[in-house]
């Protein structure tokens, strides 16, 4: 068990090195000299340019620059944002809770609806509900979520006025210092009445938009996994024992059908973060995705590169965690390798 864990963690090291190399090369490929970019259009004397280049280590051989870059990264220095002059890591950590909160609620939405829907469709296989659900799932899976978000804003937020159009909370009514960075938790901590509900209210549309594709994937996955499990002997045994259908499906079948769904959930983290870029842009949600897009607009390449690096680190770590979790609940995996 421990050997499996260690091996899985060691396997990520080459990926880390490759990631560092890739971001390093990407920085080189960006057109324009970093010093001149930073100085703007005013221009500087050649002596000062040489001095700044020396300060930044740009006059060293490329391999030493790479080693210096790796050294920096290993010390938690992911660069300095050109536009705010803040450390990229600090900016990332300030904004990441907003993205995490959004993805958490999106996932909650996808799971609470997708799991039961997929299970019911499997039980009623071939029926109207099954067919309707699978059609809806195909549409959900194919949804361009940036457009879906605009549509929901148009109908739900603007026409019907049911939800706010953008943002995380009504800033005019509620103001409190961020403690955790999670608006819902901070709202509870602030003790202001109504703040928590307002934060939730702001989360509804973005969570639905971001959760739509995972919802479709989870529903389809649960359905096919359930179909497989339902034909197993132990389910027949449970039925034969005279257990209630609800107990058979909910307890005996669903629990076993969840295994492949867990793996898939882990794989969805990467696509959730990709979707967050779009969702945050549409809803002006101050998270990592919106920040990355704005960094491009501002030509803030250090922020972009550091941000991409950090996002990838998160994805790699989540994948390792999911693998470990999977190894823990499914012994066959551990002994296989």
């Amino acid at each position: 068990m421990l050997a499996y864990f260690l091996r899985r963690i060691l396997l990520t090291i080459p990926t880390f090195v490759a990631l560092m190399f890739a971001t390093f090369v990407a920085i080189r490929l960006v057109p324009g000299d970093p010093v001149e970019t930073r100085m703007g259009e005013h221009g500087i004397t050649p002596e000062r340019l040489a001095m700044l280049r020396h300060q930044l280590g740009l006059d060293l051989p490329v391999w030493r620059q790479f080693l210096a870059y790796v050294w920096q990264l290993l010390h938690g220095d992911f660069g300095t944002s050109l536009s705010t002059q803040q450390s990229v890591l600090t900016e990332f950590l300030t904004l990441f809770p907003a993205t995490l909160e959004l993805t958490f609620f999106a996932f909650l939405f996808a799971l609470t609806i997708g799991l039961p829907m997929g299970a019911i469709a499997a039980v009623k296989r071939g029926g109207y509900f099954d067919q309707a659900l699978m059609s809806v799932a195909t549409v959900g899976y194919s949804m361009p979520i940036f457009w879906w978000g605009l549509l929901l804003i148009m109908f739900v937020a603007v026409d019907l006025g049911l939800t706010p159009v953008s943002g995380r909370i009504d800033l005019i009514q509620y103001y409190f210092e961020p403690v955790t960075g999670f608006m819902t938790i901070d709202a509870l901590l602030s003790g202001q009445s109504g703040a928590f509900l307002d934060a939730l209210h702001h989360l509804i549309l973005p969570a639905i938009v971001l959760g739509t594709v995972p919802l479709a994937v989870i529903a389809r996955m649960t359905r096919s996994s359930m179909l497989e499990v339902l034909s197993e002997d132990y389910v027949r045994t449970a039925r034969a024992k005279g257990l209630s259908p609800l107990r058979v499906v909910g307890l005996h079948a669903l629990r076993n059908a969840l295994l492949p769904v867990v793996t898939m959930v882990g794989l969805q983290v990467s696509s959730l973060l990709a979707g967050a870029v779009l969702t945050e842009t549409i809803f002006s949600w101050p998270g990592i995705g919106k920040w990355l897009i704005e960094s491009i607009g501002r030509r803030d390449y250090p922020a972009l590169q550091g941000g991409v690096m950090l996002v990838s680190l998160v994805v790699i770590m989540v994948n390792v965690l999911v693998d470990l979790l999977y190894g823990a609940i499914n012994p066959r995996i551990r002994h296989g390798r």
């Binding site: 059609s135 497989e228 870029v277 842009t281 990838s312 790699i316």
Partner: protein
């Protein structure tokens, strides 16, 4: 795979039992691969429906010049934000209305089919070909190359697709070509991994050993002996890859990092449509609907392909 084997076996048995020229052969012989494929594909009504929509979209794209009533980039200054024909104030001149710059929506959507399909097909073919080559090399060229290729693919997969595409576009600059490059890089690992996995599965089989014993060269072994036996899942992946590429490119366009205006790309048509949400909803609704319909149609077709080509992957 097993099903294919059965069909092949029974076909050869029937041929052996009957004298050549026997009219029964025509009836008993296994149907041609195409006929067998079509028979299996036709069973799935959704897939046939999807395929017909795909056919319509492809026709629209091919004959955009004839079908479209206006030029997709001409700005009719006298008819800015004209509503579609069914709304009050709409006219048959601009059936689906015009956008914020007075360009005919219908013509832009028709020409957009051309752009989106081109992106989808270009990304699919390039990543398909490179993916197959890299996957085969990875499976057959020894552990060092294998580890190198696998690690790089792992790396690409560890960056969220859109974030990677954004990084590539930020480095190369936003344009239609760079969109294709970026999305190709994003989707390459799928083909490489699939190819590698199926090639590794085939490598241990007897026919490969037999070919090796006979002295078949490496190139021939890779592309003529092993590859044809791995194609089914790759083709399915390629079909679904077209729709994913269209979605990804549209997302880049929406973020202003894809095709640049006035190119009639569905995603970039939505880029600054947010300001029209309240006043001119058709500018927001229609391009997205075009994306959704196309992607759903391709996905339905892809699902049908999977069921027909690869019974093992069939999700009951």
């Amino acid at each position: 795979m097993d099903a294919d084997l059965d069909i092949g076996l029974s076909a050869s048995l029937t041929e052996a039992a009957l004298a050549p020229g026997d009219p029964a052969i025509a009836i008993l012989a296994a149907p041609s691969p195409w006929a067998a494929f079509w028979a299996a594909f036709r069973e799935n009504k959704g897939a046939v429906f999807g395929l017909s929509i795909v056919a319509i979209v492809v026709t629209t794209a091919l004959f955009a010049g004839i079908i479209a009533p206006h030029s997709p980039i001409e700005q009719f200054r006298d008819a800015v934000k004209a509503p579609p024909v069914w709304e009050t104030g709409g006219s048959w001149r601009y059936i689906l209305g015009t956008d914020g710059a007075g360009r005919d929506m219908l013509s832009r959507i028709i020409y957009g089919a051309r752009v989106s399909l081109f992106i989808g097909l270009a990304v699919m073919s390039v990543s398909f070909v490179i993916g197959i080559i890299l996957g085969l090399i990875s499976a057959m060229a020894g552990p060092l190359v294998d580890v190198a290729i696998t690690r790089v693919m792992d790396l690409i997969m560890s960056v969220p697709s859109l974030v990677l595409a954004i990084l590539v576009v930020a480095v190369l600059g936003p344009s239609l070509t760079n969109t294709i490059v970026a999305v190709t890089i994003v989707y390459l690992p799928r083909y490489v991994r699939l190819m590698r996995a199926s090639a590794l599965g085939e490598l241990g089989k007897d026919y490969v050993t037999a070919a090796r014993v006979v002295g078949v060269g490496l190139f021939r072994l890779m592309f003529f002996t092993i590859l044809p036996n791995c194609l089914a899942p790759l083709i399915v992946q390629a079909a679904l890859g077209v729709s994913d590429a269209i979605l990804e490119a549209a997302a880049l366009g929406f973020l202003g990092l894809g095709a640049q205006p006035p190119t009639p790309e569905w995603g970039s048509m939505l880029a600054d449509s947010r300001e029209f949400i309240r006043s001119n909803p058709w500018i927001v609704t229609l391009p997205g609907l075009a994306i959704l319909i196309t992607v759903v149609a391709i996905n339905l077709t892809g699902d049908g392909l999977r069921d027909a080509l690869d019974p093992k992957m069939r999700r009951s």
